[in-house]
Structure formats: structure tokens, C-alpha cells
Symmetry: C2
Subunit: 112 residues, 2 copies
């Protein structure tokens, strides 16, 4: 099982900012996940992969794809206190779920 | 309220690796947090700050400090499948908790 977190590479986030947005997305999708799946994922070491995308449209398309596949997912918008304009879409998490189900949504993206 | 995630800046983690370790730490400390505190933190937008430290000894010292203060915290060791040696300590999350309580533990560190 794994969780894929897709973050935008086109908005110049610093390393710490990127990490915080990825953590927001990860936790939010986790909260959208059923208890049984959570337990299994954590039991296997809560595997996470961080992937990159350019542009918010990609994130919305992937979120729709995840919805249609019935996978937990969460899109993050930045509050905009620092670095970014308020409401900027920064990241999307898909899963945790079985690896192949996650790959059907995010399998074409490169590692961040 | 906030959660501070302290990540090592001395082990050459790539951006994606760093983000994944920060997300592991964030989720693990969150799981160590009581329901009431979780709810309040999420209601306020689950504020996270990512800070840097050099060396695992700093992470262990801060974790002890958090324990003594009764704050939720979690240290992450990497499984070592990529980039790092197995068992390498990579990150520590402290909180969520009130800002001033978190600052008493991590207030001296710089933003990542």
C-alpha cells in the first residue's frame, strides 16, 4: 500500500514550504480514509511517494480520477501567509490504497 | 496552535525525500495527540512549520524535551530503501499544541 502526494513544481516553493504542503495533503487524505485501510498502511510502514506536477489543472484532473476510482484524496490550498498568494493550490494526496490503484491515478508522474 | 517538524539538514536529503519524511513525522505525532487537540488544530487550519537541525542528537534532545513537557511527538527513522542508510534518523514532529508550548521546545531553530 502507499500514498502518493503530488506537489506543484511550477510555483517556486522553498524546501520547507513544499514539505509542509505535502504534510498537509498527506494528513488530509489520511483523514478521508477508512480505519481498516489506515491500519494496514501504517502496519506496512506508511509508505509515501512525493511526485511532481506543473500547474493546478493537473492536480484537479488527478483528484477527479481518484474520486472516480473511489480513492481517498485531498487537494491543498495555501493560506497565503508566506511565499504564495492566498488560495494557491499546492498539493494533492491520493491514498493510502493498494499500490496498483494509486498507480492508475499518479503512475505517469516523476518523483519530486 | 501549531505543529513543528524538525528535519535534518546534514544528510543531503532531496526535496521529495525531505517532504516525505516530514509528512511521516507529522502524521505520527498527530496519531499521538488527543482527539480534542486534533480537532482544534484542524479547525484552525492545521498550521505546520518545518525547521532544520544538524545531527540526530539534536532531534533526540528535542524529543526528550517534548516528552517532559507532555507534548505529542514522534521521531522518524528511514527504512533506507533509497538515498539513506537503513535506520537513519531523519525528522521529529512536536505537537500539535499551543504555539508557546511548541516554541519552548523548538523555538531556537531556523525555518527549513
Amino acid at each position: 500500500m502507499k500514498q502518493a502526494i503530488v506537489a506543484r513544481a511550477d510555483i517556486g516553493m522553498g524546501q520547507g514550504k513544499l514539505a509542509a504542503q505535502v504534510a498537509h495533503a498527506s494528513l488530509s487524505a489520511y483523514e478521508d480514509t477508512d480505519t481498516q485501510t489506515r491500519k494496514r498502511w501504517k502496519g506496512e510502514g506508511q509508505k509515501k511517494v512525493v511526485l511532481k506536477a506543473n500547474g493546478e489543472s493537473t492536480l484537479f484532473e488527478l483528484a477527479e480520477k481518484a474520486d472516480r476510482a473511489g480513492l481517498p484524496n485531498a487537494i491543498i490550498r495555501d493560506a497565503g501567509h508566506t511565499q504564495l498568494d492566498p488560495g494557491t493550490v499546492t498539493a494533492l494526496a491520493v491514498g493510502p490504497a493498494e499500490d496498483d490503484l494509486v498507480d492508475r491515478v499518479t503512475g505517469d508522474l516523476s518523483l519530486y
